[in-house]
Amino acid sequence: MTTIIPFGPQHPVLPEPVSLKLELDNDVVVGVLPSLGYVHRGLEKFIDTKDYNQTTYICERICGICSALHGITYTKSVEKLFNAEVPERAEYIRVIVGELNRVHSHLLWLGLFADGFGFESLFYECWKYRESVLDVLERITGNRVIHSISKVGGVSRDLTKEHIDMILKMLDTLEPQIKDIEKVFVNNYTVKKRTVGLATMSKQLAYEAGTAGPTLRGSGNAIDVRETEDWDIYRDLGFKTVVEKDGDCYSRTKVRVKELYESIKLIRNAISKLPNGEITTPIKGFPTGEAIMRTEQPRGEVVYYVKGNGTKNLERLKIRTPTFANIPSLLLTLPGVKLADVPIVVLTIDPCISCTER
């Protein structure tokens, strides 16, 4: 006997409005049909009425969690259209804010994930540490969550000496705190009980299902856009891709925890190498041509396609977000798991429906 249970769109452990129609055989999922559209706004049409500068702000609001990286990717793609050379200092500031963004996003995810298996105090612990990152971001950019740091041609605010000291100090306190929560995620008996061996995807399957980010790297694929030539800065900073082999929820968690350390290292390196100089370069005229820009967001690779036609409005803007790439993998991993595990499995892809649907 199978029963259909609607999961979402409003569900307390899923902060995201996605609706899954789950077909259950006793306690086990046998079929799943995602239903989307609860946050579809129609942002790709924004470009018809607003110019390419204003579009930056809408791109940041594709999603509030990796907002800084959306803004950075968009502005970088438009700069590609202009063939513009952005001052190095601006690029470094983008990396610093982008990586701080990743730290806050991963801490946020770790917390929500803990909440997914009913571990409230761990959830609170993660979010408590996250606040120090937000405080720093607020002081750098003027806002806690939506940073508006990147603009076409550079960045909107500069880093002062005071800011740099504050970032370094924050990282020094944050690192041991991450070590503390890492111990729980990696060693706690009940946590392992819930995550080890759950929703395993083989290397091959994760690759072919087109997944992105920690979902992909958790299955042993060392693919990270930060290694590509689009972001040559990262190679100077000694970036190393984080990979875990097992492909289950546990290794996806470990990827994210290790990426926290990687990001902290990147921020420290970027600060030590931070060049002096301008933070913006003037951009004149209107964009023409086509460009594709990819960056690595907390949840995986985002692809921006922009096409300009010589007017102030872009002709086409298309965003392939990481969750969009990861959702099909749910169709493969959900059948066979228990109902109690559904939120956990859904959470391990770190779903952000608002960018999926735009």
Partner: protein, 289 residues
């Protein structure tokens, strides 16, 4: 019924919810402090109940609140029987009826979450019931009767001879208080994959009744722990309080597990240690007086 018993009944009826309410409030406060935050006032559960009573009552069918009342009555009954040192087996039976009433109520609402939560609660009953029975059996072996009065009148605490059953009972306490790692059928403050589990469809006064019943239940469950050292009520109360605090701490350092895991745990480990304990009592033939 003499005057004294009437007085006791009245005292229990009034006192138990007050103690239970305070216990719930202290639980929330301690939980908050363990999580590094300030937390609600101690009287928060009282405010919650008062608010719920003043809200509109939304029901999906007429019988759901009937089951809640049955639940409340049987919880009170089992508590009274405990206070009046009645037959342990009867107490367990009445208590189980109370739990079943809540499950039937959850089932009757028809919401898929409530159904799934209710069936998980059945699993919970399946896993703790044998331990409770063995607990009663241990009392029988030690005193020659199921009557609690024998335990309470004895001068030696039964904990001396039932340490393993005591450990098993701590797990039962954890399961019944619906604390992590066993908070899968419903939970008090945390939310979970089943929304509010079997209590999803309750609102306003109906939900308030459940909360009040929970207050009685808190007292009843800690009472079961108290019995382990009833010889000296002070030590007994202390043990009950420590057990309660222990459960709160465990709640904060574990994730929620599956009911399958709980069932396995209780039918293997908990049952095994309880049976070892019983076997020891049976073979050694110790009696307490």
């Amino acid at each position: 019924m003499d005057m004294n018993s009437v007085l006791t009944v009245v005292l229990v009826l009034i006192g138990a919810p007050i103690i239970g309410c305070l216990a719930a409030g202290i639980d929330r406060k301690i939980t908050a402090r363990l999580q590094g935050r300030v937390g609600p006032p101690i009287l928060q559960p009282y405010y919650d109940v008062k608010k719920l009573l003043s809200k509109d009552n939304m029901i999906v069918n007429g019988s759901q609140n009937f089951y809640v009342v049955v639940y409340l009555i049987f919880i009170i009954l089992s508590l009274l029987m405990l206070v009046f040192k009645a037959d342990m087996l009867m107490i367990i039976f009445v208590y189980t009826v109370a739990s079943l009433a809540l499950i039937v109520g959850g089932m009757s609402t028809g919401s898929p979450y409530a159904r799934a939560g209710s069936s998980r609660e059945i699993m919970a009953i399946l896993s703790y019931e044998p331990i409770l029975i063995l607990y009663a059996l241990a009392i029988y072996l030690l005193t020659g009767t199921f009557k609690l009065s024998a335990v309470l009148d004895a001068s030696t605490p039964i904990l001396m001879y039932t340490p393993l059953i005591f450990i098993a009972m701590l797990f039962v306490l954890n399961i019944k208080l619906k604390k992590s790692p066993f908070d899968y059928s419903t939970s008090h403050h945390a939310h979970q994959e089943l929304v509010k589990g079997m209590l999803t469809e309750y609102s306003g006064p109906g939900f308030a009744t459940i909360e009040i019943a929970h207050f009685y239940e808190y007292v009843f469950l800690t009472g079961l722990i108290f019995v382990f050292w009833a010889a000296n009520p002070l030590i007994g109360a202390l043990i009950a309080i420590v057990a309660y605090l222990l459960v709160i701490v465990i709640d904060n350092i574990t994730a929620r597990v599956y009911w399958q895991w709980m069932l396995k745990l209780s039918w293997t480990f908990l049952l095994a240690i309880s049976i070892v304990n019983i076997a020891f009592l049976y073979i050694s033939g110790v009696k307490i007086v």
